[in-house]
Chain length 519, copies 2
């Protein structure tokens, strides 16, 4: 006996399949029929999905809140089970206090290839006081545009959502949006009964913003479970042009912290000024010696071991829609640091940046002293060819070449009396860049899949400017990674007022679905 | 009828006078008999004076504590009245909330000349938590040496005090020691019945550490009362050699605060590093352009209007015991900032010092950003010939010469998009240097008087490195000032663990008495 609801469901399925059929036979190079089918499911389910997403975003997900993170994991597992995903479980690692990753799979009968979808459910720390008035990081809030551009908070209602509206909450874009897009894409595929070519696995990390501390041990513990032909990392924003983007690698990252020394106690800048050495000036001189007027790093050999771009990579860069002028306008500055070097090219070079520097105090706390120390933190980004420890050592050698006696602790009184210039240098842990070749067959398939969802040119970035420990995937699983971001570039990632534009979530679902369905 | 106590007093006076007489006829160039007499009174009264000083130091004297400051004023007035000082009163100025100065006088029959003794009774703010364990800023504590050198706290007892012991308390050296030395000197003179040549006036300020905000109005209100042949400013430490010191002037002071700009919001240093301009680097380059490798200021015309030293001044400097090596050892650095230029010569030049600089954060607060701004506070000290506003303008011109668009407020979006380099510069109020000629007859008399108390060479400093608004004395009273400091140089002035070495207080009493008795 057929129940009424079963008839309704079957009828809907027939209509959708007809839709897919007609879409497929009329498809041009642009949006495939499959994409249009996914869109129709989304259109039908969007109110329900947004309701589910609001509940998901309401659960605090910062590293310090282990209870909140557990609640997030439970919520995600329920989302997966309700979508018929199999083998849903926590991967707990071996150490104590691991925030577990969540695993699930869909085994496709006859499939010999496997693709794993990655997103992370933890978020950056929050300082609620810095959020826009009326916003709270874990009370998802609907806004009819961008708050920075004067849009207003509006109530969630059961009416059609305008895709230019945004949802503000911690994790809204980074990276619960990844979890939501991946699971909703699979839900739509499942609902449409579309046949897949790949086995699909799901891996949602809970420690990404805390530095993926236990990712390596989770990988080591689950080597065979996580065998694959490649990973799709759904994290980060799309290109500033708004075009869909595929990123083949990340820059490596390492830090150098420097402290230089003046007198051993704060001195009156009247009684001793210009007699006692001023560490603020010493540091200013040291830092300014690291770059020339054109913004190029002057440290010996800094760019030497950089691997040249391949012709594929150069070609990909040449087709990226230029966004420099738009970004400069948005960020309110006139000239890029390296005169004439575009944003796209800048991020394919190793970089050196001052993250912070301090000596004494400024503003109301300033006093008439010669400070006793001056410190700076330097961020080094690396590209293929660079070794992070070698890159740090180039900076150390440069500092030594400026006459500094270099140690990795506070100087002793004896050392202070022996050396005019002393620098305490601490070298952080770091990691190298990672990049998958643009001509890799797996990569090419993903490009084709994502291209099938849009008429616009895809932005193919050989590397993103930022860093992720993607080398872990290679090191422990011998796996390829391709990053497919979905968030709007102006999502305030890592900062107050994080948001996702609804259109980006919808597009992300179509993108993920297309990759799941690839041949 | 003579009381027993009267006979005792008379007898003592006779003995003292005989002592003075024999001292005078046997006096060599060194310590005069008068000084030895003062010393004998001190020796007799020191327990009583230290007891009085302890009570005085127990009264909180920071700017925020108006009740405490009033209690200090009352205590000082009692000290003055008990010493037969006349016309003791508060000089209240005209504004609301003036912390009054305290006035008193001793009119010498037949005297046509007047000398005014200045000290201040307010102290620098305190952070009790930074004080040495067991110390509290307003619980005067006796220590058998310097705490920094491992000495120990000992109880106050009614036994003879070792002059190398120290008393720790806020104001112990800066500048309640001045009040104590001046009033005790007069008490000893009065007790000995010594005849004076000058009228003596006393002026104790209560707002020096708060910037002498109302000194000009107190002067204007009391112009005729404060007529004099000169002021003796008893404040600050003696020369680092430990020799008694006379200071003929002070450096002027002014500040320049600078903020430079990067992107309008903090950017991810991976995604945007070395493309967006880094304000930390911009500031480092700007600051380092202000001095060469030899520590000389490279700002155009910086030293140009400096008045050359007179031959008297050059001669005075040449006789100063060199303390550079001792101070470098104490402060634990190897080389002075200006290679080969001594401390004595450095402080007779205009100076430029970084008091503080900051961009982003260092240490645990550091994050992977390109900061939005970088700021620095620069301290300019001035010598005779310099005009403080002109000196500030030289810095502004230098910044402009480096391509900066200079404003005195936050930049507008339009300005940010129009100028590659923008500097917000705030110029502080300031004042010029002040110096009394070494050959001035009043100055010469003070030199002779102070020399009469010691066998050691006096340190005659044309200017101290620090700054005081001594121009106010000239501007409003047409008065000369000579600074005669008494505190030990390692007194931790303005900082935690302020202290006075007892010997410096005793020497100070002899010094002040000699000046009171000068011809």
């Amino acid at each position: 006996m057929f129940s009424l609801s079963y008839i309704k469901l079957s009828l809907m399925r027939i209509i959708l399949l007809l839709f897919v059929f007609f879409s497929l036979i009329t498809s041009v190079n642009a949006q495939s029929g499959a994409t249009l089918s996914i869109r129709s499911v989304r259109s039908e389910k969007e109110i329900e999905w947004i309701k589910e997403y609001r509940s998901f975003l309401s659960i605090p997900n910062i590293a310090a809140d282990t209870i909140g993170l557990k609640q997030n994991a439970t919520f995600i597992m329920e989302m997966m089970k309700s979508r018929n995903i199999q083998q849903v479980k926590l991967l707990n690692g071996v150490s104590k206090n691991v925030v577990p990753a969540i695993y699930g799979e869909v085994i496709t009968p006859g499939a010999v290839k496997t693709i794993i979808f990655y997103a992370h459910y933890d978020g950056q720390p929050v300082d609620s006081s810095q959020w826009y008035k009326g916003l709270s990081p874990f009370v998802p809030t609907l806004v009819n545009g961008s708050l920075e551009k004067g849009a207003n908070i509006i109530p969630f209602e059961n009416s059609k959502l305008n895709p230019d509206w945004r949802i503000y909450a911690r994790g809204a874009s980074d990276d619960k949006a990844g979890v939501m897009a991946i699971l909703s894409a699979y839900e739509a595929i499942n609902k449409l009964g579309l046949k897949l070519q790949y086995n699909i696995k799901f891996f949602f990390e809970g420690e990404e913003e805390a530095g993926s501390t236990h990712l390596s041990e989770i990988f080591q513990q689950n080597e065979s479970l996580l065998e694959s032909d490649g990973w799709v990392i759904c994290d980060g924003p799309v290109h500033q042009s708004g075009n869909k983007s595929i990123i083949f690698g990340v820059r490596g990252d390492a830090h150098v912290s420097i402290t230089v020394y003046g007198p051993s106690r704060p001195l009156h800048s009247g009684h001793y000024g210009n007699w006692a050495p001023n560490p603020g000036l010493m540091l200013a001189q040291l830092l300014s010696s690291m770059k020339d007027d054109k913004g190029r790093v002057t440290i010996k050999g800094f760019y030497d071991d950089t691997k040249p771009l391949t012709s594929d990579e150069r070609k990909a860069i040449s087709t990226i829609p230029p966004v420099g002028d738009q970004m400069k306008k948005e960020l309110k500055f006139l000239n890029e640091e390296m005169e004439g070097v575009s944003l796209e090219k800048s991020i394919l070079m190793p970089s050196l940046n001052i993250n912070g520097m301090q000596s004494g105090n400024v503003g109301k706390k300033a006093s008439n002293v010669i400070p006793i120390t001056a410190s700076a933190v330097i961020d080094l980004r690396l590209v293929p060819g660079n070794d992070y420890q070698l890159q740090q050592q180039k900076v150390v050698k440069h500092i030594k070449s400026k006459g500094y006696y270099v140690i990795n602790r506070d100087p002793t009184d004896e050392e202070r009396s022996k050396y005019a210039k002393i620098a305490t240098i601490n070298l952080s842990d770091g990691y190298n860049a990672q990049r998958t070749s643009l001509s890799d067959p797996f990569a090419q398939k993903i490009v084709a899949a994502v291209q099938s969802t849009t008429k616009e040119i895809l932005v193919l970035l050989p590397s993103m400017g930022g860093s992720l420990p993607l080398f872990l995937f290679d090191k422990y699983l011998k796996a390829k990674t391709i990053t497919v971001p979905i968030a709007n570039h102006d999502n305030n990632q890592h900062a107050e007022n994080e948001n996702i534009r609804i259109r980006n979530l919808w597009n992300g679902i179509e993108t993920m679905a297309a990759i799941m369905m690839m041949k």
